[in-house]
């Protein structure tokens, strides 16, 4: 986290260059840090572009619930970028605050939530279609979309679930497949720069938190006695590491908590970093253009080449991160349901 903060600091301090005077003359500064943070953070509207000083964005519904006042539902453009107070709520630096300081829950359809809904729709559409095509031609060679997806399905089943979980792996396949395609599709949607894509859903910690929690809860629910025995009484460890201070059990138990946390942070950080790098290359164009128009043009060639390269890399990362999340989930399920080895030999 600190590294990212440093990156933001670097951009916000080092690149505050007057851009507007060279470009459109309204004196607006181009701040690469703000520009990047604006793109990677969630928002109450879906910003598409800015022409001159006019923002073009899709307003999204704001849904607020306060125990005293009930629901307040309205479109985000009613805030008028913080100039207007709506039903006692005001927007300030992309945060909604209540004027009277009352407690409320914000379940607005933000940019990320809207993107989530789009990805859910795509997922349901694709896989129900694929399932139907499987049911219609059960014993025919797959074609088209099914043919493209079948290797991935088999990969998840045979190379992720089977070796990581072992016996009884079929039970976890629906979850593993859902999580894999959910992450993959959202990673790729995040790489599309304009409307249906462009949100940073898998690079948002709330998303990865929920995914990691699902994995964590499932692994706890299915865990067997042997798993907990292993944690509270690790075999092959000298007794003084367990008594009187239960050092190893504490370490092992921390491991149980750390595993899903790492799962959460890895996906979040990887996707976020990818977005930041691409946006940084784009920012370079504006930074150099602010110094000199021709410099900006020449830098843009390099920047575009680099961001194209990075986009390809991110396309790979999109798959790899989905794979890593899925295989680690599978490994955790496998660990939780492991049975003692000597038992296996006896049977």
């Amino acid at each position: 986290m600190r590294i990212f903060s440093l990156i933001f600091l670097f951009f916000s301090v080092g690149t505050e260059i007057v851009y507007g005077s060279a470009a459109n003359g309204d004196g607006k500064k181009f701040n690469a840090g703000d520009f990047i943070v604006h793109h990677i953070k969630d928002a109450y509207d879906w910003h598409i572009t800015t022409i001159g000083s006019h923002d073009i964005s899709i307003p999204l519904p704001v849904i607020l619930f306060s125990p005293g006042n009930g629901f307040d539902i309205f479109l985000s453009n009613r805030f008028e970028h913080g100039k207007t107070v709506v039903n006692g709520y005001r927007i300030e630096h992309n945060h909604i605050i209540a004027e009277d300081g009352r407690k409320f829950y914000d379940i607005s359809i933000t940019k990320n939530v809207a993107s989530l809904f789009i990805s859910v729709f795509i997922l349901l559409f694709i896989f129900i279609k694929v399932a139907r095509s499987y049911l219609l031609n059960p014993n025919k060679p797959p074609r088209g979309l099914v043919n493209a997806l079948e290797p991935v399905l088999l990969f998840i089943r045979d190379d992720i679930a089977k070796p990581s979980i072992g016996a009884g792996y079929e039970k976890y396949l629906p979850y593993l497949m859902t999580v894999f395609f959910f992450i993959w599709i959202n990673n790729m949607l995040g790489l599309i720069p304009i409307f249906p894509g462009g949100a940073n859903l898998t690079g948002n910690i709330a998303t990865t938190l929920v995914l990691a929690l699902f994995t964590f809860i499932i692994s706890i629910v299915v865990s067997k006695k042997y798993f907990w025995l292993h944690i509270f009484n690790p075999p092959g460890v000298p007794i003084w590491l367990k008594l009187p201070i239960p050092l190893m059990p504490v370490v092992e138990f921390m491991g149980v908590i750390i595993r899903p946390s790492v799962l959460m942070i890895r996906l979040f950080a990887n996707i976020l970093a990818g977005h930041i790098i691409i946006l940084s290359f784009i920012s370079l164009i504006f930074i150099f253009a602010a110094i000199n128009t021709w410099l900006g043009l020449s830098v843009s060639a390099i920047s575009i080449a680099f961001s194209v390269f990075m986009s390809f890399l991110e396309l790979l990362v999109a798959f790899i991160q989905a794979y890593v999340f899925t295989i680690l989930s599978a490994i955790y399920f496998g660990m939780a349901t492991e049975v003692p080895h000597h038992n296996k030999e006896h049977h």
Binding site: L124, V130, Y134, L173
Partner: protein
């Protein structure tokens, strides 16, 4: 909405959406897809096994066929050999028979010829006898037409008789 603090709203919608996706896809996508994949793999394995078994069966059938063919060939040879033998036997027998028959016919013929000859000789004898009688009668008649001659004959006869 800070970068490292999860926003409540997104967590809320994520739990709902992801949960719904998990349930719907689990029921209507993954379950049938995995079932079909498994069945297809099973059917492929079965088909391969069947093909292997059919191959084995075919090989077995082939050797069996060869055995049968060999057996049939042997049988054919035996039958041919036997037939030849039988034919030879029949021919030999027929030859023997015909020879015997011929011999018999020849004997009969010879016998018949002999009998015929005997009969012919007998007939000839009879005819010669009757002819000689007729001739001697005619000669006698012409000899005895003259009375002198009759007389001399009688004389002769008497003389002969006297001499005896």
């Amino acid at each position: 909405m800070d970068i490292i603090t999860p926003a409540f709203g997104l967590v809320f919608w994520m739990v709902i959406s992801f949960g719904i996706v998990l349930l719907i896809l689990g029921k209507y996508a993954w379950k049938p897809i995995l079932k079909v994949l498994k069945e297809r793999e099973q059917s492929i394995t079965d088909a391969l096994e069947k093909a292997e078994r059919a191959k084995e069966k075919l090989a077995l059938l082939k050797t069996e066929n060869e055995k049968l063919i060999n057996l049939a060939k042997e049988e054919r040879d035996m039958i041919l050999r036997k037939a030849k033998e039988t034919a030879n036997e029949i021919i030999a027998e027929a030859r023997e028979k015909s020879k015997a028959e011929g011999e018999k016919i020849r004997k009969n013929t010879i016998e018949a010829i002999r009998n015929e000859r005997q009969a012919a000789i007998f007939e000839l004898k009879n005819q010669v006898a009757s002819l000689s009688i007729e001739i001697s009668e005619k000669i006698l008649r012409s000899e005895l037409s003259d009375p002198s001659k009759q007389k001399s004959l009688i004389d002769n006869l008497v003389r002969e008789a006297q001499l005896n």
